[in-house]
């Protein structure tokens, strides 16, 4: 493997593939924190030149965490479509990038291609792509999933309603839910992050939301984002769990820090396939985000973009209903500012889609990073144009439990109008019956929780 190039009379020699992958990244504070970032712009482009000349085969043969040592690597390697891999293994990354951008490959062909690509290759591709490359390639891929409603159809853009409350007060959760529904939010999921990860909290949250969904006959899915083991206990106790939730990480060690392993996820998938309340066939919801592996010390010296791609390699084993990259929550030591968050959001969405995943994004920022509402709105427009399946929907974007800002009910409504996107067909019909939407646009009475109240 040639890991050397000469630029402007200076020779750049990279120690190993892992080091090369790190230095080929766009600048990220997390890679700097890990000591993996390029020293300057020239070293960065040198790394990309070397990477562009490597073959798909070379990247497969050198996973960033060894096969024998890591079950996430084994899931990625063993799950590949051997036929597709054989067709492309001799391509260089430069050639593969052009193939992915070529209009000759439609969405179906890109999905087929993705099934033969290990996560490290998809990460390497993202490193060689500009923001608009990432948008145009991802926009051609539609990933359609179904639980109760159908997510990801062309021309559709959905919303996970996130009605969090600082004490899990059921009426408070319902209040935010009702207001969100009145803006046409909530067609992907009504999903609450509970304050405490207990069976009791889960039952309280699911109980009141299921009552609402039944009373108003809302064609959607309900989820309480507790740890997967809590969700499994609820399922075993007969709770009507539509969708099982879990956060994923890109290595066995990092997964262990989240309290999960492949065997557990396999059991969870089997349990929700058998006993889940939603129609299916897709019944899992995963969240990911760059920086989590480094944060738990499970990154094995690999950069945060590559570790994120490996989350998707793990996720696709389970054919989830939704995968959400939470892109601006982790803090400035991993993604410093609006520019880095924008880049990470576009990378993650592209990588997830090429993995065949129903990607959405929690487009967000915390108050201790160099980003503001304008950065959030910019990325939201870019990702909606790129065909993201869903965003979060919160009252004014303000999460009063987790203390950060994400996309608002207003933002999602505005994005639909701007880009002529509609909710899921089932949910759009419901909004029309309720007099809240006509011809894909909110009606005058939409936009207040009072429309559902006496």
């Amino acid at each position: 493997m040639q890991l050397k190039t000469t630029l402007r009379g200076r020779t750049y020699q990279f120690a190993d593939l892992k080091g090369l992958l790190g230095k080929a990244n766009e600048p990220k504070s997390g890679d700097q924190l890990a000591g993996l970032a390029a020293e300057n712009a020239t070293e960065r482009v040198a790394a990309r030149e070397v990477l562009a000349g490597l073959t798909v085969r070379a990247l497969r043969d050198n996973p960033v965490v060894p096969y024998e040592q890591d079950e996430v690597t084994r899931v990625i390697q063993d799950g590949l479509d051997a036929q597709v891999f054989a067709e492309v293994q001799g391509l260089t990354l430069a050639e593969l990038r052009e193939r992915v951008l070529s209009p000759e490959l439609d969405g179906e062909a890109l999905l087929r291609l993705g099934r033969g690509l290990p996560s490290e290759v998809i990460a390497a591709l993202a490193k060689l792509m500009s923001n608009l490359d990432l948008i145009t390639a991802a926009a051609r891929i539609r990933v359609v999933t179904r639980a109760n409603a159908t997510l990801g159809l062309p021309g559709r853009f959905s919303v996970r309603l996130q009605p969090n409350h600082p004490t899990d007060n059921p009426q408070g959760i319902l209040a935010s839910t009702l207001e969100g529904l009145s803006y046409g939010n909530g067609d992907a999921l009504i999903g609450v992050n509970p304050v405490t990860d207990t069976l009791e909290a889960m039952q309280r949250v699911l109980g009141s939301l299921h009552e609402l969904v039944q009373a108003l006959e809302i064609p959607t899915q309900v989820c309480c984002l507790a740890h997967v083991t809590t969700g499994m206990r609820a399922l075993e106790g007969g709770a009507p769990v539509d969708i099982l939730f879990q956060s994923l990480a890109g290595s066995q060690d990092a997964c262990r820090a989240f309290g999960i392993e492949v065997k557990l996820l396999d059991e969870a998938a089997a349990l929700v396939a058998e006993r889940g309340a939603a129609r299916g066939p897709n019944r899992m919801y995963f969240e990911t985000g760059q920086g989590s592996a480094l944060s738990s010390g499970g990154h094995h010296g690999a950069d945060q973009l590559t570790m994120e791609a490996r989350c998707y390699g793990l996720a696709r084993r389970y054919r989830p209903f939704m995968v959400n990259t939470v892109v601006g929550f982790i803090g400035p030591e991993y993604l410093h500012d609006g520019r880095q968050v924008t880049r990470a959001g576009l990378e993650d969405h592209f990588m997830g889609k090429l993995h065949g995943l129903p990607m959405g994004c929690d487009v967000c920022y915390t108050n201790h990073m160099e980003a503001d509402q304008n950065d959030l709105e910019n990325l939201a427009v870019l990702l909606a144009a790129a065909g993201a399946n869903f965003f979060m929907g919160l009252p004014m974007g303000d999460d009063v439990m987790l203390n950060y800002q994400s996309t608002s009910f207003h933002d999602n409504a505005a994005l639909r109008e701007l880009l002529h996107l509609r909710p899921t067909p089932e949910f759009e019909a419901w909004l029309e019956r309720r007099g809240l939407m006509r011809d894909g646009r909110l009606t005058a009475r939409a936009g207040d929780l009072g429309v559902f109240l006496p």
């Binding site: 700097q32 924190l33 179906e108 990933v143 359609v144 999933t145 179904r146 159809l153 062309p154 021309g155 409350h165 600082p166 007060n169 009426q171 408070g172 319902l174 209040a175 935010s176 009702l178 207001e179 039952q203 109980g207 009552e211 039944q214 009373a215 108003l216 006959e217 007969g238 709770a239 009507p240 396999d266 998938a269 089997a270 396939a273 058998e274 889940g276 389970y318 054919r319 030591e333 410093h336 915390t366 108050n367 201790h368 503001d372 509402q373 009252p395 004014m396 303000d398 999460d399 009063v400 203390n403 950060y404 800002q405 207003h410 409504a413 505005a414 067909p425 929780l449 109240l453 006496p454």
Partner: protein, 295 residues
């Protein structure tokens, strides 16, 4: 694209997607047998312990007795704000910007030196050189700089039963607003068990774990670390307190007890101070802090 064409395209994509789901080899666990179909309503009723009733009321019928004001009162979320087209109204937009500005300024703010002096805290620095480095290098915020470590040894009381360390964390505004009231309520309530008062420290650009270094240097028994919490839009003035029984232990986060969300609209500082005193007394009596192993 005309509607019939779009419809045809949608149908085609759905059928292809469904066919793909069916055709692809499923991972082993997904091969479970199809579930026995059970009407969802009956299942929810059973699970909630309700007597199975008639079908849920349909559109147009009241489903709750709660009115709009009762729902709005039930949450601090920004609800009922109306809209200007699909965007927010000017008044609500400006209120949002005001709250974000307060949060941003809290992150970059510095603690009032007069407060540190008035409370008799010895000022220290972490290894982070400035605010930017503090935000980008969490490891540096968890360590003292060399001069400060020397100052701890020179000014601190060795082997104190209770050692106080205050750090600015992510909000100096939170210390300015709530620290005096918190300590004012806590210290008198501690009683004799806490031993003779040891000099407290304030660490600029410090994270919670920097307190551990102070306790190690001084061989303290119980460490109380007060920190400014990450500001949200609701408040930029929230404090958190971490109590760690230190002697003879290697500390992990799970071995701290904490009180969080201390601010005027959350847990008031005076009440938090009284709770903190009780927590310290219990920790000294039981020689333990942190979560018990869950059953």
């Amino acid at each position: 694209m005309s509607d019939p064409r779009l419809e045809a395209l949608v149908r085609e994509i759905v059928s292809r997607a469904v066919a793909r789901l069916a055709a692809e080899p499923a991972p082993a666990p997904a091969a479970a047998p199809a579930p026995a179909v059970e009407p969802l309503k009956a299942r929810v009723d059973a699970w909630l312990g309700r007597v199975p009733g008639p079908a849920a009321p349909g559109a147009g019928r009241a489903w709750t007795t709660g009115d709009r004001p009762s729902y709005l009162r039930a949450t601090p979320a920004r609800l009922g704000v109306g809209r200007a087209g699909c965007r927010v109204r000017t008044e609500t937009w400006l209120a949002f910007l005001r709250d974000h500005a307060a949060a941003r300024d809290a992150v970059s703010s510095r603690v009032d030196p007069a407060l540190v002096e008035r409370l008799g805290l010895v000022p220290l620095r972490s290894a982070a050189r400035d605010r930017r480095e503090f935000l980008l290098r969490p490891d540096l915020g968890r360590r003292l700089d060399a001069d400060s470590a020397a100052l701890v040894k020179a000014r601190g009381l060795r082997g104190a039963r209770l050692q106080l360390v205050v750090v600015d964390g992510l909000s100096a505004s939170a210390l300015d607003a709530n620290l005096a009231a918190l300590l004012g309520a806590c210290l008198p309530a501690l009683g004799a068990e806490a031993g003779p008062p040891a000099p407290g420290f304030f660490v600029q650009d410090g994270r919670v774990a920097v307190g551990d270094e102070v306790a190690r240097l001084l061989d303290s028994e119980l460490l109380v670390t007060v920190a400014g919490e990450r500001p949200g839009l609701k408040t930029a003035e929230s404090l958190g307190v971490y109590v760690t029984y230190f002697r003879g232990r290697t500390i992990t986060e799970a071995e701290r007890s904490m009180i969080s969300n201390i601010h005027a609209h959350g847990l008031p500082a005076e009440e938090a101070g009284r709770q903190l005193a009780k927590l310290c007394q219990k920790a000294l009596a039981t020689r333990h802090t942190g979560v018990e192993v869950k059953g």
